[in-house]
């Protein structure tokens, strides 16, 4: 469990807090999206989960241990943090060397290293790049290698900072399926994102940050249809939610935010309307 208790944080030399009195509990196996405007403190918050940043006030507990009591390396064994830009972490000559790096840091023996690298390459469809340099891969592929480089040691809690940036629709869909798979394995998934469409498709619990404080913490359907909250966090409704908002059925608007639910709801209604009127108007 990740537990953030009355936490405030300020960068050295800054005159004000980036995070103010944040309280947040994330249970094991939960899927949470942290959303908010630029500079709202999202990345700062998740950097506290593996001890890269320590709270100025309050505490951050990972499975009952205060992050102040452990080193980043010790915490990272359980909390895998995937950075936004893969170019900030890739350095090895080959993809397989890149994936082995963290396993060797954590002291796994060579046999386990080899097996785990092979498994993760297969899981993320990267086998053909095993001997390629990470630097010759496309942006999307490098992002997948960076993801694999964290998942390879099988951390219990997985934190992804802006995982959908630079990904095409197919890659986003793959990522969504992969997240579902990880959740089914009991992993805790926390994503930091601005991508309302991706969140609408995944429908996690959403924690909304604005100016360093949590302004809402609820189901995606509730938050992504609340215009007042979205405006505070400089976000907009997902397109499907906007369509459903503009399309009152029986005088009511419906809180449908994803394409699948919208299709389930709208297709029979449209069929019925067409059959009744005999043609499209």
């Amino acid at each position: 469990m990740i537990s953030v208790n009355n936490t405030s944080f300020r960068y050295i030399g800054a005159s004000s807090d980036v995070l103010t009195n944040v309280n947040l509990q994330i249970k094991d196996g939960e899927f949470v999206a942290i959303m908010g405007e630029n500079g709202s403190g999202k990345t700062t918050l998740v950097k506290m989960f593996n001890g890269l940043l320590k709270p100025r006030v309050g505490s951050v507990m990972i499975d009952g241990t205060d992050t102040r009591e452990k080193s980043v390396a010790q915490l990272s064994r359980d909390v895998g943090l995937i950075f936004q830009n893969p170019d900030h972490q890739l350095f090895a000559e080959t993809v397989s060397e890149e994936l082995s790096f963290s396993l060797r840091n954590f002291g796994f023996n060579e046999e386990v290293v080899k097996r785990r690298v092979t498994n993760i390459l297969t899981a993320l469809d990267l086998e053909k790049y095993v001997d390629s340099s990470p630097f010759v891969l496309s942006g999307g592929e490098r992002k997948r290698v960076a993801l694999a480089a964290i998942l390879v040691w099988d951390p219990k809690h997985i934190i992804m900072d802006e995982p959908t940036i630079g990904q095409d629709y197919l890659q986003k869909d793959r990522l969504r399926n992969f997240i579902v798979q990880l959740i089914s394995q009991g992993k805790t998934i926390v994503i930091v994102t601005h991508d309302v469409e991706f969140v609408a498709e995944c429908k996690p619990r959403v924690v909304l940050l604005s100016k360093g404080t949590v302004i809402a913490d609820d189901a995606a359907t509730k938050i992504l249809t609340n215009d007042e909250l979205l405006a505070q966090a400089s976000l907009v409704r997902p397109q499907i939610a906007e369509l459903m908002h503009q399309l009152p059925i029986s005088g009511k608007t419906l809180d449908i935010i994803d394409a699948y639910a919208a299709r389930e709801f709208l297709v029979p209604k449209l069929r019925e309307a067409v059959q009744t009127s005999g043609h499209w108007r």
């Binding site: 390396a73 950075f83 900030h88 972490q89 790096f101 840091n105």
Partner: protein, 238 residues
């Protein structure tokens, strides 16, 4: 103050510091800068930059001393390092990248060179942020920079340096493409909306620097300076 006058002053201090190995002379040159730093109201930043150079200063002293340089001379080399570092810190702390570019253009340095120089200066803070992000990313993968013996610690920096160099190269390629897309270098003769003009204080600084240099040269050749004697020296290794 005009960046050209400040640069001449900095070069004056730099040259004087290189001329002397006498501890008292170097202390005098170092102390000469203090009123300037106080006048420029940059004492806090200056102290921070001196603290940043402390490790390198101590390293210079230890390396000189253990490889057989006399104790006094090792102190002098360290003082020289701090004096030169202080002079350049003062210059860069009080001169914006724009002023620097303007100064270079007005002393007829080709625009492509002055632009490269000012861009490099401007990118230093960005590189520092990048470096911190890379360190964070690798620490999140279990890298412990301060673990192991000396060679292991040096090797620990490879996963930091490579992403940093690669991202710097990527950024420079992107920057070059963006500049070319915006017609960089399309005209041979650029005009500047702001032109630099030397004022009384600038002339005073330039004349002061020339006089200071003249005094330093005179002292160097003609005036016997007091010598600090501490007869401690390790045997020479090489």
């Amino acid at each position: 103050m005009d960046p050209r006058a400040k640069f001449i002053l900095t070069i004056g201090i730099f040259t004087t510091a290189l001329m002397f190995t006498n501890v008292f002379a170097l202390i005098t040159i170092f102390l000469f800068q203090i009123p300037l730093i106080l006048m420029a109201k940059t004492s806090r930043k200056w102290l921070r930059s001196m603290r940043g150079g402390l490790f390198l200063g101590v390293f210079i002293f230890i390396m000189n001393f253990i490889f057989g340089t006399a104790l006094v001379l090792s102190i002098a080399f360290t003082l020289r390092f701090f004096t030169i570092m202080s002079a350049f810190s003062f210059f860069f702390m009080t001169t914006s990248a724009d002023d620097l570019g303007l100064a270079l253009e007005q002393i007829h340095v080709p625009y492509s060179i002055s632009f490269t120089f000012t861009t490099a200066v401007r990118l230093v803070p960005t590189m520092a942020v990048d470096a911190q992000t890379v360190v964070d990313a690798q620490r999140s993968r279990g890298l412990e920079l301060d673990k192991g013996n000396f060679m292991k610690r040096v090797r620990n920096y490879i996963p930091i340096l490579i992403p940093l160099i690669i991202s710097a190269i990527r950024r420079s390629v992107e920057l070059a493409e963006a500049l070319e897309s915006r017609a960089f270098g399309a005209t041979d003769h650029r005009t500047a909306i702001v032109t630099l003009k030397l004022h009384f204080a600038d002339y005073l600084a330039i004349i002061g620097t020339i006089l200071g240099l003249a005094v330093a040269i005179y002292v160097y050749f003609r005036v016997p300076l007091p010598i600090l004697v501490i007869p401690i020296q390790l045997p020479k290794i090489f």
